[in-house]
């Protein structure tokens, strides 16, 4: 019976403990329920966001880049279809066989094969790898035909930048290239992060990059844990880049480029009233396409080290002593200051003595009696030595700056150089030396410290012949009817006319320095001024011996720069032109014929007249930045 009692006792103990245990279990499950309440109700929203972040992958869609057009709508830079093939590893059971098969149709180089293998190891099996790009249509078609036998290979069409006129426009248009770390640090446009995205690195491509780039679209993709796309949830196409319309006239540009030939130099043609740049040539040119696709180090070094510096945009970044092309400004400054009168004459014996130093005229025998007009016509140095000495460097420099010299003009291109118009302050600051009067004298013929870019010389010429308005050069075409007159420069009209007559005589008087390059067609006569700037000093020994070496006998780098500034037609000037031929010898022999031909072509094509008739070719976001 005690057994029975024991058993009951045991059952009681068990019951007590079992209930205790069950209570404990219930309590623990209560904790779990509480945890669920915490996660799913209290923090539910936060986790919902996290889940959405997990599953939604925002992909950017690269906007297509805007075109660059000339004033008549000709495409200077555009997108071109890039035929390529991509490989998706997971679609092929035997990637090697696929690549071998592809190789039989279009050869794949060892180098490419190594890159493909590297990428294959890096990306997930469903991500496309670019195998070949920039294929010809024939190659692309052949691969398409064979694609059933090439599992994993998919034809694809992308976009690359195309420059139809290559070297002829390389300096103006610039080029696009991959985004660098520095670009990323500067800008926060997320589209820059896209693999393979290109941005403007030089020229108009760079200055108008924001307009050309457009806005990236977005695609919301649902992805799984491996990053594979499941489906597209929404899509925003973004905004394609705007076209940029330049003032350039493609035909004139090509003509000028071709007319410059093998020479190293620059040519600028400008609308004297609006400042629109119709032609901006820098020779030698370079092919911009490799910059887009990636330039090899050897190619880069070759471009960089060439003595003709093809990478420098000479019209805006080449700084040259303007030589005699500076004389109009000197004469005008002296007339304006009242230092000389229109009838003022100087006797040129072939040199001028200042203290112990002798300054020579280019014509050893001298010009005899010279006034402003004849001194311009025959480019007499002695006259301007004298005038500059009377005027002084301070008044000369202040006046020269009014004509666009010595400072940047703000053209829409990177790397513009300011040139140099020296004065006493500048010399003290830069060279820590006082100004010498002799330096004023040689500044009078555009030598010494004076430096100008071809763009500045063209602008100067435009301001001299447009009635004294301070036009500024601009590359972007002005919207039709929006041209407003530039502010007037404070200078007497009659002095401008006087200097203009001098420039006319340079071309059209038989004793003018550029008479041989004159244009005789009625209504197309041009005016201008030659310039020859010394690169190396002519030694005293050479001068005394009287046997000056001919320019052609000197090494290229020691020859004079040949310059010419001109305008046309003389009666009603519309086109201003500046040409420099580096180490070309003489302004009248080397530069004047080129400039004359370019001006003749400009007047023949007459883009300004034609634009007035033609409606603007494309509505563009083109405007001067800033």
């Amino acid at each position: 019976m005690s057994n029975e009692k024991n058993e009951n006792l045991r059952a009681k103990l068990f019951t007590r403990r079992a209930l205790l245990l069950a209570g404990g279990q219930l309590g623990l499950l209560g904790v779990l329920a509480g945890r669920m309440y915490q996660l799913q109700v209290l923090e539910g929203e936060r986790y919902q966001t996290l889940a959405e972040d997990n599953r939604i992958n925002l992909r950017l869609i690269a906007p297509s880049r805007g075109r660059i057009l000339d004033r008549f709508g000709n495409e200077l830079a555009t997108g071109r279809q890039n035929f390529r093939v991509v490989l998706i590893q997971e679609q092929s059971d035997d990637v090697d066989a696929t690549l071998t098969g592809l190789n039989a149709i279009v050869p794949i180089s060892e180098h490419q094969l190594r890159r493909i293998r590297r990428e294959m190891g890096r990306v997930r099996a469903f991500m496309p790898i670019t195998v070949l790009e920039n294929l010809t249509w024939e190659e692309f078609a052949a691969i398409n035909v064979h694609s059933p036998e090439l599992p994993g290979i998919q034809p694809d069409v992308g976009e690359t930048r195309y420059y139809p006129y290559g070297a002829e426009l390389a300096h103006v248009i610039g080029y696009v290239a991959s985004v660098s770390e520095r670009d990323l640090a500067k800008a926060d446009d997320p589209v820059l992060q896209l693999p393979g995205f290109k941005i403007g690195k030089n020229g108009v491509e760079r200055t108008f990059d924001t307009e050309l780039r457009g806005k990236a679209g977005t695609s919301q993709m649902e992805v799984n844990a491996l990053g594979r796309m499941i489906r597209e949830l929404s899509r925003d196409e973004g905004q394609p880049g705007a076209d940029v319309v330049l003032a350039l006239d493609l035909e004139l540009q090509r003509y000028a480029h071709q007319r410059m030939g093998e020479e190293s130099g620059a040519a600028v043609v400008m609308d004297v009233h609006s400042g629109e740049i119709l032609t901006l040539v820098s020779t030698p040119g370079f092919d911009p396409t490799p910059f887009n696709l990636g330039l090899s180090k050897a190619e880069w070094n070759a471009l960089q080290n060439s003595e003709r510096s093809p990478l420098i945009n000479k019209p805006i970044a080449g700084q040259y002593p303007p030589g005699s092309t500076f004389k109009m400004v000197v004469g005008l400054a002296a007339l304006d200051a009242g230092v000389i009168q229109p009838g003022y004459t100087v006797f040129c014996p072939g040199h001028m003595k200042l203290g112990t130093h002798t300054f020579y005229c280019w014509k050893r025998g001298g010009h005899g009696w010279m006034d402003v007009q004849s001194a311009l016509e025959q480019s007499c140095d002695c006259f301007f030595y004298d005038v500059a000495r009377k005027l002084g460097i301070e008044r000369l420099s202040v006046f020269a700056r009014k004509f666009g010299l010595g400072e940047k003009l703000g053209i829409e291109l990177p790397n513009e150089k300011p040139g140099l118009i020296p004065d006493k302050d500048w010399k003290q600051r830069a060279l820590k030396k006082p100004w010498l009067q002799g330096e004023t004298v040689i500044a009078g013929i555009g030598q010494g410290y004076v430096l100008a870019t071809p763009l500045q010389l063209a602008t100067m010429t435009a301001r001299l012949v447009n009635g004294g308005r301070a036009v500024e050069p601009r590359l972007a075409k002005l919207p039709a009817g929006r041209a407003e007159a530039a502010p007037l420069i404070d200078v007497d009209k009659q002095w401008l006319d006087l200097v203009g007559r001098g420039m006319n005589r340079v071309m059209n008087a038989p004793s003018g320095t550029a008479f041989r390059s004159r244009i005789t067609e009625p209504g197309m006569q041009i005016g201008g001024k030659t310039g020859t700037s010394q690169v190396v000093r002519i030694s005293r020994a050479e001068r005394l011996s009287g046997v000056r070496r001919r320019q052609e006998d000197r090494p290229w780098r020691e020859r004079h720069h040949a310059l010419f500034v001109g305008y046309g037609p003389v009666e009603n000037p519309r086109y201003a032109c500046a040409v420099i031929i580096e180490h070309g010898g003489g302004g009248s022999s080397a530069a004047a014929p080129v400039a004359s031909d370019i001006l003749r072509e400009a007047m023949r094509l007459d883009p300004l007249a034609r634009t007035a008739e033609a409606a603007p070719p494309a509505a563009g976001g083109a405007r001067k930045p800033g």
């Binding site: 079992a18 986790y47 491996l226």
Partner: protein, 366 residues
Amino acid sequence: MRLLSINWGLVLLVIAIAAIGVAMLYSSAGGSWDPWAGRQLARFIIGLCVMVVVAVIDISLYARYAYLLYGVTLVGLVGVEVMGSIGMGAQRWIDLGFFQIQPSEIMKLALVLALARYFHGVMPEHIGRPTVLIVPLIMVLLPIALVLKQPNLGTATLLLLGSGAIFFLAGVRLWKFAIVIGAGLAALPIAWEFLHDYQKRRVLTFLDPEADPLGAGYNILQSMIALGSGGVFGKGYLLGTQSQLRFVPEVHTDFIFPQLAEEFGMIGGLLLILLYVCVFGYALAIGLGCRHQFGRLVALGIGTQLFLYVFINLSMVMGLIPVVGIPLPLVSYGGSATMTLMIGVGLILSVSVHRERRLPRRLDHG
């Protein structure tokens, strides 16, 4: 006749839970019977038959052969260990050709039966004697040591806590538990040294899961995101983004609850927990209604084990404890575990069927 006395309420509960499991596995596969839901359903049907057979077998048979089963299973565990060490790689099962047996799975039941048998034979007045506890302690520690060696931390934890519950139910004095727990805590630093690197990492990851969101903490974090983003009502069946898009790993096995809670929300999750509570309640009621100590200990021992499964799995997916490999009973995919669980429920049912059976204190050794 015995079939009629089976507790069909419990059977229905088990079917309900398993049905939820199959439905979730169908969703795990992205709305497909293949590869999990179909097979799990087939196993479950077989398991159901086995369960009923187990339920109707005379309970004295289990008591009689408890030690034998325990012994054989222990040998099996050693066998697996030996096979592993002689170059067949770490494995947890024995291949009988037509069937693969995981001794550690069987041990979960064998240990309960053996302990129940032992404490059934101990006179109530003797339970206070420390010497009485020597044999059962060895019975518990031997398989735990072998399972830990595999290494299978989940099963070891289950065996340890499950046995502790049986000791508690058998009437072992509370202060003795206090001593053991105290000693265990003191030994924790030593145990830490014995943990494998991946086990240590799991513990560290648990302590700070967001420190390494793409590495070891990924599982827990994604699981919590799945749970949390389900909200109160869930995203809808087959619409759980976290689980459908594979952000939650192992969603068909250990991490199936996050999928349920993501697709059916807190409502769905709590409903499943409620079903489990009913199962535990049945086990409690059956245990309390049993006339013999063996039956009582078996019913509540196995019931507690079920509870431990559920609690450890849910705590793990909710980020309350480190990741240990324990499935959600009757819901997670897995043949061996499901079969063991069904047999376990069968044993509880058997206790219910044979609650009036008089079992002598001394039984023949089977």
